[in-house]
Amino acid sequence: MSEKRPPKPRRIDVGVDIGGTFTDVVCRSPGEPIRAVKLPTIRGDPSAAVLRSIAYMSRHWDVAPVEIARFLHGTTIATNAVIERKGAKIGLITSSGFKDVLEMGRGSRQALYRAILEPETPVFLAPGSRRKEVKEQVSAKGEVVVPLDEAEVEHAAGQLIVDGAEAIAICFIFSFLNPAHELRAREVIRARHPDLMVSLSCEVDPVFREYERTVVTAFDAYMKPVVERYLGKLERGLLEAGVGAPLQVMQSRGGLAGTKVARKRPVRLFMSGPAAGVIGGTIVGRMAGKGDLITIDIGGTSSDIALVEGGRPIIRPEGKIAGFSVRVPMVDVNAIGAGGGSIAWLDTAGGLRVGPHSAGSEPGPACYGRGGEEATVTDASVVLGYLDPDFFAGGSLRLIPTLAHEVIAKKVARPLGLAVEEAALGIHRVINAQMVEGIRLVSIRQGVDPRRLTLVALGGAGPLHATALAAELAIGNVLIPRHPGVLSAAGLLAAPIEHEVAQAFPRALGGLSLTEVRRALAGLDRGCARLMAEDRVAPQAVSVEYFADMWYVGQSYPLEVPLRMSERDPLASLYEDFLALHDRIYGHSTRSPAAIVNLRAVHRAGGSDSVGELGYEPTGTDARKTSRLIRVAAERGPVLAEIYDRAAMVPGFTFWGPAIVEQDDTTTLVEPDWRGTVVSDGNLYLERQ
């Protein structure tokens, strides 16, 4: 050893995505290849997972905690708290006459034909005994009709606190037009209970439709103490580990926020995990020069599908959390119950069905040899020769092909009078059809023809289905990221800081004054700027976009249209853009009067166009490992497929299907007629001929 070099002043970015089974850690330091690792998640203590990842980085990657400049985090804490019903005990205060709005919802059911059903509204947030009414009334024009009865507010809050409420949500009718009563109610409560967390609907979601607003406000109160505790624990863990860098969290729209802001707006963390994955897919597309994408992340039990247009993920105004619709903007991820562990079964009329039930990871597919007795998609993949039993998950789990054959023979092939391979192909066809409809739904919902998109396959099972799905959709291009399994964590590194503020602005477009619009936007900008200041972002680093939710006068479901204030006549352009969008999405538009419903400002700072100078370094060994017989849908008999080692493929390496590309975290099936090329950053580009 010669003399010690002085430590380089490195600025290292770290992305940590904590999932149910694995914690993915990705680390990027300038001028070096990106590094990634999957560590087992320690259930119940996220700070332990963070400490472990920091320890891992310093031991294996020579990263000192003080060198970490940004610590970025994607989390499932919010969604899990809802699924496991582990949020805070809250109380709900409403206008008199409306305490049951939360319970009754819109009165309709998702499962229309079912006569036997459980509640579809999130009644668990505040059952009847924890919903209180207070006298107050505001008219549809925002005028006070009945003044707020402050004594009732005090009484209601007192009762709720005695009942154990840790937070209170307040939702009054028409408060989005006149928030005075909600604001005053909070003051009244705070005067007596200064530390109680209070969520106001006029702040959380100041938009019409009282049920939807009540739900999101109640979720806000339900999540606040949980998110507070979680982030506090994480921050303490970071400090203990010697990381002084600020913690930033991924929000549902795909932008990061500092913990101070995240604590204030907990409902914006619902899609934190999947949003990071979509951002990761977006970046991989950008690296390959593709901006219009479908990303599909196929895991064991489900698949997350999202649409990216012009390099931006599509945002939708409301999403589903654990089965409940929650009106908070989020990346438009369509989660369907179809994955590698999905179980194939026969219904009473002898039809082949796959999913939504899954064998999960325990006992897992039959071929895992852990006692699984159901035929899964993964078992079919083994039968079809796609998965090498000795090289599954990098050889960490040895699959037992005879078990896969037996289970498919018993559960599917024999009852249907099919050969085992035909049955396995059938399982793939049925599950692929479901995924194809999932993709169609997100693309056609946006009026986008899927044929012109590039499919980005993520997750452990994504690359196995990618070419089959693309062929079904007449998509000609597929991208397989270098590390599909840790792309969510990588997405964190590239995401911008983003804040969004919206306001109800019900105005007909005809005769609307631009000054009034400007004034409203200025108010929204101030709101965003405050949030950016809390994240210590310099104003000059911020880029701003505006949107208007619009509809034809008489309609009820708005479309989000970009509002470009730099145009010569912004409102005229807005109308034209609305017509074009309405035509694209619904297939018709007329020059009828339209109106604005809400205005929205989105402020962004930072973000990058790649997940880092990847410095892709192939192992240098022969990429071609062997060949074996596989079955594919397009051919009657078995075909001979080349088997490649992904880690050994050099940039520019080209090959033809039928082929299988193996790597530690996934297996890629390249069907006949597809040509694969490794691009310079290590991503794999597949084209159909």
Binding site: R106, G107, S108, P127, F174, D347, L441, Y552, S556
Partner: protein, 660 residues
């Protein structure tokens, strides 16, 4: 030749997605509250012959998945590509069953041949006629129920028939809404056509043609496999509509079901004759008309939630209907309020299933799907407003294992309510309360779902409130397995003030500025003995204001003092109540028990049988006369049996010698 099972499943997924994307287009672009918020519409795909093979599972109304478009398809000849056909006439083919429903069907061609139809309907808020919203029980002839358009082309080879449209829109009260909704429906059938083309491209025309028939066969096979699990036998069940016309006497819907191995005959012939009000349900006497089988869709789907929903479900059934009856009226009987009848008929079919499979079926749902409309004017601008404000749906029936769903459920989950924050913006009213009604769920080990109460104030003179489909103020939603009937519905103006009016089943009334309307739906029936409901569950209901302390004591025998259950007092009370109140499998509530002391099964049977022997025009008229005569006779003599009824009928008939 059938296509293989794997391909069939793939086709099923694509077809469902096609129907749902049609529905999505329709709902998102429609203009009337009734379509865009309440979602009273359907979309679907039919075979070239007209049988529905694909319908949405999560959007729109549930009544039409078994709809057969064959009759109206045949009424148009010479289909061209780009044609879109339309009808809203209940007497042209019985596809449309009341005038506000405008149905469209668009042929989808492949190489010059029709392969299927993209179809759908919207319920227009108004299509003209005698009353706002076009529907009222008071109407007696279909001609009073608005404009009737027989099957006709709205688009010819892609070209809109503007004259036809003008005729239609000139005859309705809110033309912009109708046109907005119609445009959305046109967009939906166009979406359907596009989706069909995609499927043909994927599967090939031969497999597509066979496949869509296979989908129907497949659902039929599933339905038959469910029937195999229902014990063979004959089951009788009946229920009543409170009034056969405004202020009238009860109207019976009766069913004798004969369950075979794989098929079921539903004999409805002991039901009331054709009415002179508008609650007749036009079916053309078809053996498998969709409106007769709605309860089957719900029940079978509940038993097999993975089943594919399409017209194949109807095939194992054969319905027997009497000509000139409430379920098979003759032109020109009014039919506008057929929904009320269809809803009660669902209760009857549910009742037969509950009798056949007591452990598997829920108690009766509320059985009242009241649609509220307001015709008023803005006090400041004078703008006339006519809008549907909210469907008032009651609670779901209690289920084996669960309480009934509150506010809506069972067979009524397809109608959405309208946010107060939309109602008050679009209609100059003020909503004072919209919530659940305490003590309204049928008591039971599992409680029936609670009903909904809506209270609002109006501000303009000559404001007309229509509360369509109101019923069950008298006869209640039945409980099963010892569970009790749900609470009846109610309708008040200015309750508790000197100007108070009790309106019962009234469905149209005029109110004054400042009047407060309070309307409650009915509660769902209970399941299992209420005295078996754990006291802790009753206490939780009290804390949530689902039951009152009084109700807990009266209905459940649970004594609660200062928020605490008095166990000793409760045990004693429950013991006492258990011994004195032995209920049968079904509990129908006190009103029906009282009514049936006079008009029990055999007595009513005699009446129906005799009425069938006179001409249709006379049946409703004579029924009333007989009811009056029987009431008078009961006052004098007390006990009345079938022989007396026959004698009274004979006496009444003799007053009209022209009948003999």
């Amino acid at each position: 030749m059938a296509i293989d099972k794997v391909k069939l499943q793939v086709l099923a997924d694509h077809s469902l997605a096609a129907a749902e994307s049609m529905a999505n287009t329709l709902c998102r672009t429609a203009h009337s509250t009734f379509v865009k918020e309440t979602e009273d519409f359907t979309t679907g795909l039919t075979t070239a012959e007209g049988e529905t093979f694909a319908a949405p599972r999560s959007l729109g109304a549930t009544w039409f998945v078994g709809l057969d478009y064959a009759n109206v398809i045949r009424m148009i000849d010479d289909y061209r590509e780009g044609d879109i056909c339309m009808t809203n006439d209940p007497y042209s083919g019985f596809v449309c069953t009341h005038s506000p429903d405008i149905h469209l069907w668009k042929p989808v061609f492949h190489k010059g041949e029709i392969v299927c139809f993209a179809v759908g309907h919207v319920h227009n808020t108004d299509v003209g006629g005698a009353v706002p919203a076009s529907l009222s029980r008071t109407l007696t002839e279909v001609h009073q129920e608005g404009i009737r358009i027989p099957p006709v082309k709205l688009f010819r080879a892609g070209e809109l028939d503007q004259q036809l449209l003008d005729v239609l829109l000139t005859n309705v009260r809110v033309r912009d809404q109708n046109w907005g909704d119609l445009k959305a429906l046109v967009a939906a059938v166009n979406t359907g056509e596009r989706k069909v083309r995609e499927m043909i491209a994927k599967f090939g025309i031969a497999d597509f043609r066979i496949g869509i028939r296979d989908l129907l066969d497949y659902t039929e096979a599933t339905a038959r496999s469910i029937i195999r699990t229902i014990p063979n036998g004959t089951y009788a069940f009946h229920d009543y509509i409170d009034e056969d016309s405004p202020g009238g006497v009860p109207c019976r819907l009766a069913l004798d079901a004969i369950v075979g191995d794989e098929s079921i005959v539903l004999d409805f012939r002991r039901s009331d004759p054709q009415l002179s009000s508008s609650m007749n349900m036009p079916t053309g006497g078809a053996e498998r008309h969709t409106l007769l089988l709605v309860a089957i869709y719900h029940a079978f789907y509940s038993l097999r939630p993975d089943m594919l929903v399409n017209a194949g479900m109807t095939r194992p059934f054969r319905c027997l209907l009497a000509d000139g009856s409430i379920l098979n009226p003759r032109y020109p009987a009014a039919v506008g309020m057929r929904s009320l009848t269809a809803i009660r008929l669902q209760d009857v079919v549910f009742g037969f299933l509950a009798a056949a499979m007591p452990e598997r079926m829920p108690a009766a749902p509320a059985g009242s799907i009241c649609i509220m409309n307001v015709l008023t004017s803005d006090p400041k601008t004078g703008r006339r407003v006519m809008a549907a404000i909210d469907p008032l749906v009651g609670g779901g029936g209690a289920m084996p294992g669960f309480d009934g769903s509150n506010g809506s459920g069972g067979n009524a989950g397809f109608l959405k309510n309208t946010p107060v924050e939309i109602n008050e913006v679009e209609v100059p009213i003020r909503v004072l309360r919209y919530g659940l009604t305490p003590d309204s769920g049928g008591a039971g080990r599992h409680r029936g779902g609670l009903s909904v109460t809506l209270e609002f104030q109006v501000f303009a003179p000559n404001t007309v409130i229509t509360a369509r489909n109101r019923d069950r103020t008298r006869f209640q939603a039945w409980g099963t397995q010892g569970g009790r009937a749900g609470a009846p519905s109610s309708f008040f103006i200015n309750r508790g003030s000197p100007k108070a009016r009790v309106l019962g089943n009234t469905d149209i009334c005029t109110v004054e500025p400042g009047d407060i309307i309070e309307i409650s739906s009915s509660g769902g029936g209970g399941w299992g003995s209420p005295f078996d409901r754990p006291a802790a569950a009753v206490l939780a209901d009290l804390e949530q204001a689902f039951v009152t302390a009084e109700g807990a004591k009266r209905d459940y025998g649970v004594v609660i003092r200062d928020g605490v259950v008095d166990n000793a007092a409760s045990d004693e009370l429950r013991q006492r109540l258990r011994s004195q109140k032995v209920k049968d499998h079904f509990d129908f509530g006190p009103e029906r028990e009282a009514f049936e002391r006079l008009w029990g099964g055999a007595n009513y049977d005699v009446l129906i049988e005799r009425l069938r022997s006179v001409p249709v025009e006379w049946r409703f008229f004579l029924k009333r006369k007989v009811f009056d005569a029987v009431a008078a006779s009961a006052k004098e003599k007390g006990d009345i049996g079938p022989a007396t009824i026959a004698a009274i009928f004979g006496g009444v008939k003799r007053e009209f010698p022209q009948l003999s």
